[in-house]
């Protein structure tokens, strides 16, 4: 009796699932026929004929759509990797300050974490871009001789220049992610039993040495998984680049959809590129996790 009811329920669920898929596929075919575009990727080799504000490799409007997309992917990668490094550094410092013995530092970092986590990322990006960089008048630039200069043109270092769009995105993503990373670090430190702190302190070992030799090695296994999911979030959040006009993969896809109407193909490309990117991130973190667990000779 029960098993026949089970089979019936499963049958109904399957019917609903396939009906939804069927409706979607039907919609798609009907609309593709209506617009007369068909489904193909031949357009990728046609010239993009739009300009990009920044490109790590040579690019001109006469280059193909495929090349424009690749440049967008590189731009995304550039901002993700640099934000990943900056946010990890910042988050680690704030995480330690939060758990540390200095009550002023702990209070300040708690405030930082609260404010950053309680406001939307989009708002923060807008703030850094429009207030932080574009808000700077020509005569309001901050500079230290010729080595370092912040103005409405972005951040200029003696060796390279970061555009204001890239700088705002880097700053916004790093600060936003650092608040979450700080909490991951704090959770990791708190996962180490109090007795471990007491043991190294009672041996006269300094706080710094104890943290490095005793606490951090035991906190790492608890930190890595949390860190991985923050890195994945960071990669996905980078698509908000479009809000500050940075030409990342999402912004370029958007332009191409407007020009060509190839929404389906573009979204497939977009989804694939993020899938590849995030698999790359989570697999690298998994390798790091393995190394840490294998280095551990105890249970």
């Amino acid at each position: 009796m029960k098993s026949s009811r089970k089979i019936f329920v499963q049958f109904v669920i399957c019917m609903i699932f396939f009906s939804v898929i069927g409706i979607l596929v039907n919609n798609l075919t009907v609309n593709l026929i209506r617009t007369g575009l068909g489904f193909n990727f031949n357009w990728l080799i046609k010239p993009a004929s739009f300009a990009l504000a920044e490109y790590p490799l040579p690019y001109s409007p006469s280059d193909s759509y495929a090349w424009a997309l690749f440049i967008g992917w590189l731009n995304s990668l550039k901002v993700i990797i640099s934000s990943l490094l900056v946010s990890t550094l910042l988050g680690t410092i704030i995480g330690f300050a939060r758990t540390g013995k200095n009550s002023l530092l702990s209070f300040l970092s708690a405030g930082y974490i609260t404010i950053i986590r309680q406001t939307p990322l989009l708002l923060q990006l807008m703030f850094w871009y429009f207030v932080g960089f574009l808000g700077l008048k020509d005569d309001m630039s901050i500079h230290i001789k010729d080595i370092f200069k912040i103005s409405n043109q972005g951040i200029e270092l003696s060796v390279f220049t970061l555009t204001s769009e890239f700088s705002a995105l880097l700053l916004g993503l790093s600060i936003f992610t650092s608040a979450y990373i700080a909490e991951v670090i704090r959770g990791g430190i708190l996962s180490v039993p109090r007795g471990q702190w007491e043991a190294f302190r009672s041996l006269g070992v300094s706080e710094r040495k104890g943290l490095i030799s005793i606490i951090i090695p035991q906190a790492l296994p608890a930190i890595i998984p949390g860190l991985t999911s923050q890195y994945l979030n960071l990669a996905k959040n980078s698509t908000l680049a479009i809000a500050v006009g940075y030409s990342d993969i999402y912004a370029i896809n958007d332009t191409i959809i407007n020009q060509t109407g190839r929404a389906i193909e573009c979204f497939m490309i977009l989804l694939t590129s993020f899938l590849v990117l995030n698999l790359l991130i989570s697999n690298s973190m998994e390798i790091i996790n393995r190394i840490i667990i294998n280095a551990r000779k105890y249970n």
Binding site: L203, S213, Q218
Partner: protein, 248 residues
């Protein structure tokens, strides 16, 4: 008589009205063994943790090894004392990611700046004293509770301390593992080590201690020699506590 610990009217409150330590005064002289007894929550652990600065106190005077400890001291300032005072915990608190020998050599190498070889030689000597030198390359999780606690004692001895603090060293052990730890402690007492031991082990207290201090609700109820305390306790509260222990 060379006093190692002198405490006068130590007082510490966690919250209003609730006193962890209430005017505790005591003196421990060099080479003596003080056993601290009392029901749980009586302030025994808090008391011995003030002696190496793991706990602060609110009022009173405390002098350990000739150094005055201020009521709300900075942890960093207490390091001089910690280098001369060893501590053994109820839960052993060995570093699980370090080998037995590394557990022991960490402090001598980093705190006393001794060479790795010198620290390892002395570490192996201490382990053989504890009868566990064959485990030197193992990790804490591979050892039994009694063995781990003996490693913890060796770790505390590695800095050649002038005072050893024991915070219920056998409470987390299986009954048949208790004696191997108590025997190691007995040998240390015979060698003239100054020790303050929080324990409920009456046999150990009778045989080894020079003085028994009984605490309840943060107060010292009585301080006696073990002979008097265990046969003819002066205070009603102490007698009640000893009766409870006997029944177990």
């Amino acid at each position: 008589m060379n006093p190692i610990v002198i405490a006068k009217n130590l007082t510490k409150s966690y919250t209003k009205g609730l006193r962890a330590l209430d005017n505790v005064s005591l003196t421990v002289n060099q080479g003596k063994v003080l056993v601290v007894m009392g029901p749980s929550g009586s302030g025994k652990s808090t008391l011995i943790r003030t002696f190496n600065g793991l706990e602060t106190f609110d009022r009173g005077e405390l002098n350990v090894l000739g150094i005055n400890i201020e009521p709300n001291h900075d942890e960093r300032k207490i390091q001089k004392i910690r280098r001369r005072v060893g501590m053994v915990f109820q839960q052993f608190n060995l570093f699980p990611h370090l080998s037995i020998l590394e557990n022991i050599t960490l402090a001598p190498v980093h705190v006393q700046k001794r060479s790795q070889i010198e620290a390892e030689d002395y570490g192996m000597y201490l382990l053989s004293q504890m009868g566990i030198d064959s485990h030197a390359k193992k990790y804490p999780s591979q050892l039994s509770g009694g063995e781990q606690q003996r490693v913890a004692i060796a770790r505390a001895l590695a800095l050649k301390p002038e005072l050893l603090l024991f915070d219920e060293p056998t409470s987390a052990l299986d009954p048949e593992r208790i004696n191997e730890v108590l025997d190691a402690m007995r040998r240390l007492a015979e060698q003239g080590m100054t020790m303050i031991v929080v324990t409920h082990e009456i046999g150990f207290a009778k045989d080894v201690s020079d003085q028994v201090l009984f605490m309840d609700s943060g107060k010292v109820i009585e301080t006696s020699t073990p002979e008097i305390f265990f046969s003819n306790a002066q205070h009603e509260r102490s007698r009640k506590f000893l009766n409870q222990l006997d029944k177990q």
